[in-house]
Amino acid sequence: MLSDARERMLRRAARDILPGMTVNLGIGLPTQVLHHVDRTMAICLHSENGIAGVGPQLSPEEADRNLIDAGGAYVSPIAGTSYFDSAVSFAIVRSGRLDLTLLGAFEVAGNGDLANWIIPGRFSPGVGGAIELAQKARRVGVLTTHTDKRGNPKILERCTLPLTAAACVNRIYSDMAVCDVTPEGLRLTEIAEGVDLQDVIDATGTTLIVPDGPLPTF
């Protein structure tokens, strides 16, 4: 993925983080969405290892050895931060207090199914907290390249890999487009600037509902 396409995707996802939200950003790409969020906006960042109110990342030199996020990065507290045990942390997740989570994907399907934790025989480091985030956040956004490194679609009719959670995804942010999971199917809602509609359709492994008229760009 080109660096500017990646930044554009991150920036677009950041626009869906709204004031007052409690948000969990998955390890990897989703964590970087934070760089595009207005720092004056009042939101609460949650981390699975027991933090509400995750502050900016710190270098190892300035770090508190007891304060990492779920991805292992050194982070800082802000005014209003709280710490709690892992049972309380997932109580926040499962009881519906997460307004939004953004996650990565190996595969995501038009029906909202998500596969992002195991590739049988090749990659199975364990499920971590992904299942509960995917199944219980009020909104689930997926950040992914539209295709894998070999050009095969990652957005499919049905996932082929074991599911993280079924019918959990609300919105997909890719380098090419924004798509919403709807009862009618996967709807194309925005297209990346300079990207051709037919290329999006060709890169998608399931039928896309394309609205009439010009698509908003991002």
Binding site: P19, G20, T22, R39, T40, M41, A42, I43, C44, H46, A52, G53, G55, P56, P77, I78, A79, G80, T81, S82, Y83, F84, A87, V88, F90, A91, I92, V93, R94, S95, G96, R97, K136
Partner: protein, 230 residues
């Protein structure tokens, strides 16, 4: 970076509570009972409430105000022995009472707050409390399936809160408050003191702010908070 502000006025916070709502009330006896929120609930007067609280307080305070005002159709509690009105209403059929063993009540609330469906326990096996309940075997041991206990609202009392809704409870006033704050669709907290965000040490927060929806400051503490009648 900043955190959201949950500050609200008591009238509009309580106005959300509708006829027929289920309402959890923190407190074990006097400590931790949100008397001011209950007083406002009496003033606004929604009816047919299901009240979930460890006990029925004593005559003339807390839950008893709601009973006297005819707002409660059902009470879920572990005991009501200190409130003669509650006992009389139960015996007259004016009040439906569901007794739950104290620790099982706490756990049913906590399990709801943890987003789970229920739990299995051997507590009460062979006693009247097991009657009519579904039994389940876990690794060869049979227990009672106790369902999660949720509510539409939780009213809780904290000693200190910051504006994000991080709560700190004093001494034995903690009791059911942190559990109920987790288990309701909407949690309304009253606090004796509200401080700026960052003034409660992050390790010392008892209820993390994400569980709190509405935060009400108590301008002055009525005498009921400091009195135990016997």
């Amino acid at each position: 970076m900043a955190m959201p502000d949950k500050s609200a006025d008591i009238g509009s916070a309580i106005a959300r509570i509708h006829d027929g709502a289920s309402v959890m009330l923190g407190g074990f006896g006097v400590p931790g009972t949100p008397f001011c929120l209950i007083e406002e609930l009496v003033r606004q007067g929604p009816k047919n409430l299901t009240i979930i609280k460890n006990d029925a307080n004593e005559m003339g305070m807390g839950v008893d105000w709601l009973l006297e005002n005819g707002q409660v159709s059902k009470l879920v509690a572990s005991h009501i022995g200190l409130n003669a009105r509650a006992i009389a209403m139960m015996n007259d059929g004016a009040l439906s009472v569901e007794f739950v063993a104290q620790g099982i009540l706490a756990e049913r609330i906590r399990i709801a707050g943890a987003g789970l469906l229920g739990f299995v326990t051997d507590i009460g096996m062979g006693t009247p409390l097991a009657e009519g309940k579904q039994q389940v075997s876990v690794n060869g041991v049979t227990g009672i399936l106790e369902p999660a206990l949720k509510a539409d609202f939780a009213l809780v009392h904290a000693e200190t809160a910051d504006t994000f809704g991080n709560l700190f409870y004093a001494a034995a006033a903690r009791n059911f408050n942190p559990l109920m704050a987790m288990a309701a669709h909407c949690t309304i907290a009253e606090a004796e003191t509200i401080v700026d965000q960052g003034r409660i040490k992050p390790e010392n927060v008892h209820t993390p702010g994400p569980f709190v929806d509405q935060l009400v400051t108590l301008k002055q503490l009525p005498e009921v908070y400091g009195v135990v009648r016997r």
